[in-house]
C-alpha cells in the first residue's frame, strides 16, 4: 500500500492532485481503518496522485461543535486550516461525511476554501474518467440496502453517488421504508457517538437496524464510519452477523475488484 504524506511530497517539491482526509475514525477505529485501507487500495489501483496529512491531521471539530463547544471547534478548525493552507491544498476527499460536511461548509468562513468531495462522489468521478471499473464480482446478484448518512444525504443533498456506485456492482439495490431525504439517523450524529443515549424505550440504531432487516438485505451498505459502527452493533444485537454484512461502499468496490 502506497500512502504518501504531504510532508514527504513537499520535501520532494511535489503537490498531489488531491488530499485524502482520513479522519479520526478512519485513523484509529479498528473497523473504520478497514474502510480507509479499502479506499487507499482503490486510489492506488487507479494511480491517483494523492497524499494524507498523517500526524499533522487533527479532528475537524465536528463532534465538539455539535456538542455545543464552538470554541474547541474553531480552535481545531483554525489549526487544520493553517496546515491545509500551508500545503496549498485545493482539493480534499474524505471517507467521513462529518469531516466532509465540516470542511466543505464550515471551514470557508474561517479561511479554509477547498473543493471537498465525499469518497462516493470521488469514486464516481474516477469511474466516469475510466480510471476504475466496477463490476459485480463477488457481490453479483446480492441484495443490498443503502443507509443514508445524515450529513451526506439530508445535510448536503448527496443521495445518488453512493447508489450509482452500488448499482454498478450488478446487485439488487433495495430501499428501506425511510430512505434518502426521509432516511432515519443511525443515532451517532450530534456527538451522540460519544455518550450514552438519553433514556427512552429503544436505541436509535436498533430501530434503524430493524428497518433495514425488514427489506431482508444480505448487505447493509453505508458511507460513514459512524453509521457503520451503529449498524454493525445493531446487527450484532439482533444476532444476524452471520447473515448480514455491514460494509462501506469503498469496501464493496475494493472487494469486488479483489484488491
Amino acid at each position: 500500500m502506497n500512502v504518501p504524506t504531504m510532508a514527504e511530497l513537499a520535501a520532494q517539491g511535489k503537490q498531489p492532485e488531491v488530499l485524502f482526509w482520513v479522519g479520526c475514525a478512519g485513523s484509529f477505529d479498528d473497523r473504520a481503518k478497514k474502510i480507509t485501507k479499502a479506499f487507499v487500495k482503490i486510489l492506488n489501483k487507479a494511480e491517483v496522485s494523492f497524499a494524507v496529512l498523517g500526524t499533522e491531521e487533527g479532528c475537524t471539530g465536528d463532534p465538539a461543535k455539535r456538542a455545543g463547544n464552538e470554541f474547541l471547534f474553531q480552535m481545531q478548525a483554525m489549526t487544520n486550516i493553517e496546515v491545509l493552507n500551508a500545503y496549498e491544498i485545493k482539493k480534499i476527499v474524505t471517507t467521513c461525511p462529518h469531516c466532509f460536511n465540516t470542511i466543505k461548509n464550515e471551514y470557508p468562513q474561517l479561511g479554509g476554501n477547498y473543493e471537498v468531495m465525499h469518497h462516493t462522489q470521488f469514486l464516481k468521478s474516477l469511474l466516469k474518467e475510466g480510471k476504475i471499473k466496477i463490476e459485480g464480482g463477488t457481490y453479483k446478484g446480492k441484495r443490498i440496502t443503502f443507509h443514508d448518512p445524515c450529513y451526506l444525504g439530508r445535510g448536503n443533498g448527496i443521495y445518488e453517488a453512493p447508489r450509482d456506485l452500488i448499482q454498478k456492482l450488478e446487485v439488487e439495490l433495495v430501499e428501506m421504508n425511510r430512505s434518502k431525504r426521509n432516511g432515519l439517523c443511525c443515532g451517532a450524529g450530534g456527538a451522540q457517538m460519544f455518550k450514552e443515549p438519553e433514556k427512552g424505550n429503544k436505541d436509535i440504531n436498533i430501530e434503524r437496524t430493524e428497518e433495514a432487516l425488514e427489506v431482508k438485505p444480505e448487505i447493509i451498505a453505508t458511507g460513514c464510519p459512524f453509521c457503520n459502527t451503529m449498524m454493525t452493533d445493531g446487527i450484532k444485537n439482533k444476532e444476524k452477523e452471520k447473515d448480514v454484512d455491514v460494509l462501506d461502499i469503498a469496501e464493496l468496490i475494493a472487494n469486488a475488484e479483489d484488491l
Binding site: 500526524t55 443533498g157 425511510r178 427512552g200
Partner: protein, 418 residues
C-alpha cells in the same frame, strides 16, 4: 391590530440576523413553499386536504367581500350584476365550501377517531389540543353557515344561477314561511361575518398564525445546506486572539470605545433565554402550527426519548409570550428569575442527533435544530454543563486532536497494520 403590533414587538426581542441576501431565491421559496404548499404534499393525504382548505379559505373570502359590501350599503348580492359569471363564481364557492367542509371533517376524523399518533404526543394536551379542535369546528360552522345562507336566500334560489350545491339544501327549508326563511338567511349572514371577525381576532392566540407567518417564515428561512451550522462570530474573534502569537493575553480591553455603541459586556455564548435567540428563531416559534410532522420523523422521539422538536417550538413560543406579558405589565422586561431552561430540559437538548430530519420535514421551513444548538452552546460554553462522557471527548480533542484517547503521532499507524 394591537395584537399584531405586540407580535412584531415580541419577535423583535430576538437578536438581529441578516437574511436579506439572495432575494430571488427567497421569493421563489416563499412562492413554492408557502403559496404553492410544495412541502405539504410530501404527505399526500394531509397535503391535498390542506390545499383544499387553503384554496377554499382564500377564494371564499372573495364572497366575504360581497358580504361586507352588502352589509355596509344595505345592498343585496351587489355583485350579481355580473350575471352568468356571478353564478359561476358562487357555484365554485359553494363547491369549495362543500369540499372544505368534507376536508375539515376528515381532519377531525384523523385527529379524533384514527388518532394519528403525532396528534397525541404528550405536548398536545390542554390548549394545544383544543386549539386545533376549535379551529376545525369553526371552519365547519362557517362553511355550513355559508351554504345555509345561500339555501335560504329565496331570490337567489329563484334566480337558479350559482346555487350548484345549495339547491339541494334549499328543499329542507321549503315548508317554512318566507319570513322565517328570510330570518334564517339573515342570521346565517350575520353569524358568518361575525364568525370571521372572531376568527381573525383568535388568530393571535392560536397556532393558526401560520396562515400569515408562513410567508415571511419561508422567505427568511436558512438557505444554506442543512449540514452547515453557523459559526459564532464572537467565538472566532476570541479564538483568533488566542492563536495569535503576538497577542498580549494580559492586555486590557481596548479603551476609548464609545460605550453607547459598544457594549463592554462580552456577548453571551449560546442561548439562555429568548433574548439570546435571533428573531427568525422567534418567528419560527410563532409560525409553528403544531402539525407534528417534525416530531413524527425525529429519531429521538421515535425511540421514546423526551425530545420532541414540536415541543421545542411550542415551549419557545410560551416563553416569548410570558416575556411579552411581563413587558406589557411593567413597561419593560423585569427579571422574572426564569429562562428558556425552565421550559426546555437538558434531557431534551442532549437527545438530539442533529440529523436535520425535523428541519427537512417542516412544511413551513421551521428550524427546531437551531434552537437546540443555541441552547447546547450555552450549556457547554457558559455553564460547562456537558455530561462526563462528552467532556471526556472534548478533552481528548483538546489534548490529542481526536475524540478518543489516541496519540496524534499514531494517526498514520493504520498504514502498516494488517
Amino acid at each position: 391590530m394591537k395584537n399584531i403590533k405586540k407580535l412584531i414587538r415580541n419577535i423583535k426581542l430576538g437578536k438581529s440576523v441578516d437574511r436579506t441576501d439572495n432575494s430571488n431565491l427567497r421569493l421563489k421559496n416563499m412562492i413554492n413553499i408557502a403559496l404553492g404548499q410544495s412541502k405539504m404534499v410530501r404527505r399526500p393525504i394531509a397535503g391535498i386536504l390542506h390545499i383544499t382548505v387553503y384554496v377554499g379559505f382564500i377564494i371564499i373570502n372573495i364572497e366575504v367581500l360581497e358580504i361586507i359590501i352588502d352589509g355596509l350599503f344595505g345592498t343585496h348580492r351587489v355583485l350579481s350584476f355580473l350575471g352568468g359569471f356571478y353564478g359561476f363564481l358562487i357555484s365554485s364557492f359553494e363547491v369549495l365550501a362543500l369540499l372544505v367542509l368534507l376536508s375539515v371533517i376528515i381532519f377531525w376524523i384523523r385527529r379524533m377517531i384514527l388518532r394519528i399518533p403525532r396528534f397525541w404526543n404528550k405536548e398536545m394536551k390542554g390548549f394545544p389540543k383544543n386549539d386545533a379542535l376549535y379551529i376545525l369546528y369553526f371552519e365547519m360552522i362557517l362553511m355550513v353557515l355559508f351554504l345555509v345562507m345561500n339555501a335560504t336566500d329565496s331570490s337567489f334560489q329563484q334566480a337558479n344561477s350559482g346555487n350548484l350545491i345549495s339547491q339541494f339544501i334549499a328543499p329542507w327549508f321549503k315548508n317554512l314561511n318566507p319570513d322565517l326563511l328570510h330570518g334564517i338567511e339573515r342570521v346565517a349572514w350575520w353569524l358568518h361575518i361575525i364568525g370571521i371577525l372572531i376568527f381573525l381576532n383568535y388568530l393571535y392566540y392560536s397556532k393558526h398564525l401560520h396562515i400569515l407567518l408562513a410567508f415571511p417564515n419561508t422567505y427568511y428561512a436558512n438557505l444554506n445546506p442543512l449540514g452547515k451550522f453557523n459559526n459564532l462570530q464572537s467565538v472566532t474573534e476570541e479564538v483568533k486572539m488566542m492563536l495569535d502569537p503576538n497577542a498580549d493575553p494580559f492586555a486590557n480591553p481596548p479603551e476609548n470605545t464609545d460605550e453607547t455603541e459598544n457594549d463592554t459586556m462580552p456577548e453571551k455564548f449560546g442561548a439562555e433565554d429568548i433574548f439570546d435567540l435571533n428573531w427568525v428563531q422567534l418567528m419560527n416559534a410563532y409560525t409553528c402550527t403544531e402539525c407534528g410532522r417534525c416530531t413524527s420523523v425525529c429519531p429521538a422521539n421515535i425511540t421514546g426519548k423526551e425530545l420532541s422538536p414540536r415541543a421545542i417550538m411550542m415551549k419557545t413560543r410560551d416563553r416569548v409570550e410570558e416575556v411579552g406579558k411581563n413587558i406589557d405589565k411593567n413597561g419593560k422586561f423585569e427579571n422574572d428569575g426564569k429562562s428558556l431552561f425552565d421550559y426546555i430540559s437538558h434531557e431534551e437538548l442532549w437527545a438530539c442527533t442533529t440529523c436535520n430530519a425535523c428541519v427537512a420535514e417542516c412544511p413551513v421551513d421551521i428550524d427546531p435544530l437551531s434552537i437546540i444548538m443555541s441552547m447546547r452552546q450555552y450549556l457547554v460554553m457558559e455553564k460547562s454543563a456537558a455530561s462526563q462522557e462528552l467532556n471526556m471527548m472534548m478533552t481528548n480533542i483538546e489534548n490529542n486532536a481526536a475524540p478518543w484517547q489516541y496519540n496524534q503521532l499514531d494517526r498514520l499507524n493504520w498504514k502498516d497494520e494488517n
